[in-house]
Each structure stands twice: as C-alpha cells, then as structure tokens.
C-alpha cells in the first residue's frame, strides 16, 4: 500500500513537472471546424518534424473570434474566412502582419444519395427536391459562396423558399446526411475520399469561377507572440508537408501565400 502510494506521488510529481515543460513547447490552436481533419494530420506531422506540440480546439470561426476578443488564450487562430482574422488584428488582439491565407475552400453541392447530384449541377435548374441546406451566409463564407453560385446560375429566387440554414457547414452536412434536406452546399473536404473524389453520396464540385475564393486565413495571436511553438506552427503551415495534406483534403492552395486583401463584404445577402 505504501509503495503504491509512493509510486502514485512520484507519478503525479512527474506529470506535474512534465506539464510545465510541455506547456513551454506547446501551442494552443483554435481551428475552424471545416479544417478539423487536415489540421489533425498537420499537427501530428508538426510534432514529428519540429518536436513542438499543438493542442487543437475545433469550433466555428465566429465563436472563436468572439472568444478571442474576450481574452481566450488561443495562440494561433485558423479561421474559415478572412474577415475575422482581419478584425482581430484591427482590435489589437492578433499580431499585425502575421495574417496569411493557408487554404482556399472548395465548395461542393452534395447529396447523401449516390447518383442524385449530376456532375454539372443541373439539378439546381431541374429541381425535384424539397430542401437545400447551406451554411448561414451571414456567418459562414461557404454560405456566402453558395448564394453567389445560385445568383450566378440565376436560380436563387426560385430556390430561396427551399433553403434551410445550418450555423456552419457541418450542420448543413448533418441536415443532408440525415435525409432531412435532399441536397446541400458543403465543403469538399467534408466528404472527400482517401484517393480524392467524393467519398459518399454524390456531388458537384462547384467551379471556382462561380464564386469569390473562399479564403481561409491564419493569424498569430498576441498571446502566442512569445511562444516559439506558435511561430513554428505558422511557418509549418506554409511548408510542403502541410501543403500536401491541405491539398489532399480538397482545398486549393493560394498562390504565393502572401497576405491577401479581404474580399468585399457587399457580396453578402
């Protein structure tokens, strides 16, 4: 019993000390939920190559932005859009000049049923469905892009009564996969198969010329400015191993990866 206790105390002490050392080498990252899968892989690769750790929290960009404005301790923020990192920079909680686009989202018109969505998205013109799910355009860049696409195809007015809104693309996907909506606009990354292509159901990868690029920006928070692991992660996101993972999940790579200006806000509906 005494040995057992002594062992426990030793173990607890070790864990306690370890938590201090680990903290110094770990970066706390807030990740937009659409980037969950690629970021988990990138974090594993990051740990392997640099020895730094990355603790990931997943959620919607808007929620993270609100929390960061109110002092959340995240050191790096991977947003689903460009607006929120810019806002955080303007409000002085993010480090000015650290912002860059880490990925361009790919919009997908998707149905859980195989063969339901044709390869050209003609189903949007033909109809024959009751509900079309999308992320709320007020909150999510994927929703903004979906509305742009419907406007470009001149089907928005016709489809508007059928629209149901998720608070993000994950919820839009949930509406479709439970069959409550026959189809919906989501991110290709959500249903991409291992070798590329659509893993389940059927879908139409929306051509990029039908909407403004879905720029997903990363920003270094002031809380992480002194943490070498945070800067290392920001650099790692631009490295070939990370880019390969990002591309494999159906995202496009931004050219040059420089800090880009934000899309005009007047495209929102």
């Amino acid at each position: 019993m005494v040995t057992y206790l002594r062992q426990s105390v030793c173990l607890a002490a070790c864990l306690f000390l370890y938590s201090f050392t680990a903290q110094a080498e770990t970066v706390l990252v807030a990740v937009a939920s659409n980037f969950t899968k690629p970021m988990s892989e990138i974090a594993a690769e990051f740990e392997k190559q640099t020895g730094y750790g990355a603790n990931l929290a997943f959620g919607s960009s808007g929620k993270f932005a609100s929390q960061l404005l109110n002092g959340a301790p995240f050191e790096v923020f991977l947003s689903a859009d460009g607006d929120k990192p810019l806002r955080l920079e303007q409000e002085g909680v993010a480090l000015a000049g650290s912002r860059f686009t880490y990925a361009l989202g790919t919009l997908l018109l998707w149905s859980a049923k195989p063969g339901a969505v044709d390869a050209d998205g003609q189903i949007l013109h033909k109809g024959g469905f009751q509900h079309l799910a999308l992320a709320d355009p007020k909150l999510a860049p994927y929703g903004v892009a979906a509305v742009e696409v419907m406007n470009k195809l001149k089907v928005y007015d016709k489809l508007q009564p059928l629209l149901v809104y998720g608070e993000n693309i994950s919820q839009a996907q949930e509406f479709v996969s439970t069959g409550n909506a026959e189809l919906g606009f989501i991110a290709l990354s959500q249903v991409i198969a291992d070798g590329g292509g659509i893993g389940e159901g059927s879908g139409w990868v929306v051509p990029t010329e039908l909407h403004m690029p879905i720029r997903q920006d990363a920003v270094l928070m002031k809380a992480g400015a002194q943490n070498p692991a945070a800067s290392a992660l920001m650099a790692f996101l631009k490295s070939p191993p990370a880019l390969a993972i990002i591309e494999r999940y159906g995202y496009r790579l931004p050219n040059g990866r420089e800090v880009v200006a934000n899309p005009p806000a007047d495209e929102k509906h």
Partner: protein
C-alpha cells in the same frame, strides 16, 4: 433591435405559447396519473418525463432530427399522412419544444396534485360528484398555484431553448429562427451590440418571470426531481 430581431421574438413567443397550451393539455392527465398511481411503471414514467432536465438539448435535437426525418419512423408516418416531415417547420419546433419543456409543466402539477389529500376527494365522492366533476371543481381550484407555476415555467423555459431548435429548426428567417438562435448568430457575426440588446432583454424577461413566480405567487422553487 431591428425588424429581424422583432420577428425572432414574435416567433419565439408564438412557439412557446402553442407549446405551453399543448403541454398543459397533455401534461395535466399525465401529472394526475403520476401523482395518484401505485403502478410499478411510475418510476419509469417519472424518469422519462424528467429526462430533458438532464439530457443535453443537442442530444434531444439530434435524435429528433433522425426520428422526424424522412428516414425515421415518425417522419415516415407524417409523410404517409400527407403532412410532410417536421424538421424545418413551425410544427416541428412545437413538437420539439413540448418534449423539451414537459418536465417544467408536469413536475409542478404533479407536486400540487400530490399535495391534495384524499379527504377532499373523498368528501366530493360522498356528495356524489363524478370523477370529472371532482377534477374540475375540487382539484383544479386547489391546484391553481401548480397550474400557474407550470404554465409560466413551461412558457419561459421554451423561450430560452437553444440546442433543440438549432438542430431541428434550420434557422429559417420568420419560420424557424427563434431568439436564442438569433443571439448566437449575432455573436458569431460579431454584431455584439445587437447581441447585447436581445440577450439583455431575455435576461430581464427571465428574471421578471421568476420574480413574479417566487414573490407574487409565493411558490417554492421547483424542478426538484420527484419520486
């Protein structure tokens, strides 16, 4: 607050009003039975009624989305009856709200029914009052505070629901976008001023409701699990 905010408030009060009426209609006989029965199913029924008190609302919303959807048993039934499916409709929100807030109606009713001793009922019976007569003219007046508490709590709790309506609502303006979802949207869109206006309003509303409940009506705090 803009017109969209007022629309969400109006819709919220409509959903809560309809749900509260339905809960009183269905909850009263249920609470009466639970308060009187010696059945061995009593514990099971009490547990089922109280379940939304402990269940995360997203769990309830998630299962409702599946059950009420076109592939779920209830969804298949409503489709066969020509009603279509319930998610993304006003009716769907009402059904979800009734399940979500039912313990807030049943438990105070059950407590006040249980507090009515057998003497009053026996006296009524000796005066040849039928069971319905007894219920409307003896039980209901005696249980008046219980009905008031049940109605107020059921209504107020439904006004505040979030997780369930987020899951089954579809966030459609004027149709299923209720005030809690609108507040969440404002916060996510970083429209903090508008979020404050609505959230502060709800805070005040909730506090006033409880203040009325505990001072003017002099009821005891409820929502304690009943056995």
């Amino acid at each position: 607050m803009n017109s969209a905010d007022f629309a969400t408030l109006w819709l919220t009060f409509k959903v809560s009003g309809v749900a509260t009426c339905l809960m009183l209609i269905f909850g009263t006989p249920l609470a009466w039975w639970l308060a009187r029965t010696q059945s061995r199913w009593k514990g099971l029924c009490n547990a089922l009624v109280a379940l939304p008190l402990v269940l995360p609302p997203t769990v309830l919303g998630f299962y409702l989305l599946i059950l009420l959807g076109p592939n779920g048993p209830i969804g298949k039934l409503t489709s066969a009856l020509g009603m279509g499916t319930l998610p993304f409709t006003f009716a769907g929100l009402v059904v979800a709200s009734v399940l979500y807030s039912l313990p807030f109606v049943v438990q105070p009713l059950q407590a006040s029914f249980a507090g009515i001793g057998p003497q009053a009922l026996e006296a009524a019976a000796t005066l040849r009052a039928g069971p319905l007569d007894t219920f409307f003219h003896v039980v209901m007046p005696l249980a008046r505070p219980g009905f008031l508490t049940a109605a107020i709590l059921g209504f107020a709790h439904t006004v505040g629901e979030f997780g369930v309506v987020l899951m089954v609502g579809g966030n459609i303006p004027d149709k299923t976008r209720v005030v809690s979802v609108q507040i969440y949207n404002h916060v996510e869109a970083l429209e903090l001023g508008q979020a404050h206006a609505l959230a502060g309003g709800l805070l005040l509303f909730s506090f006033l409701v409880l203040l009325v409940l505990y001072t003017a009506l002099k009821t005891q705090p409820v929502a304690h699990p009943l056995t």
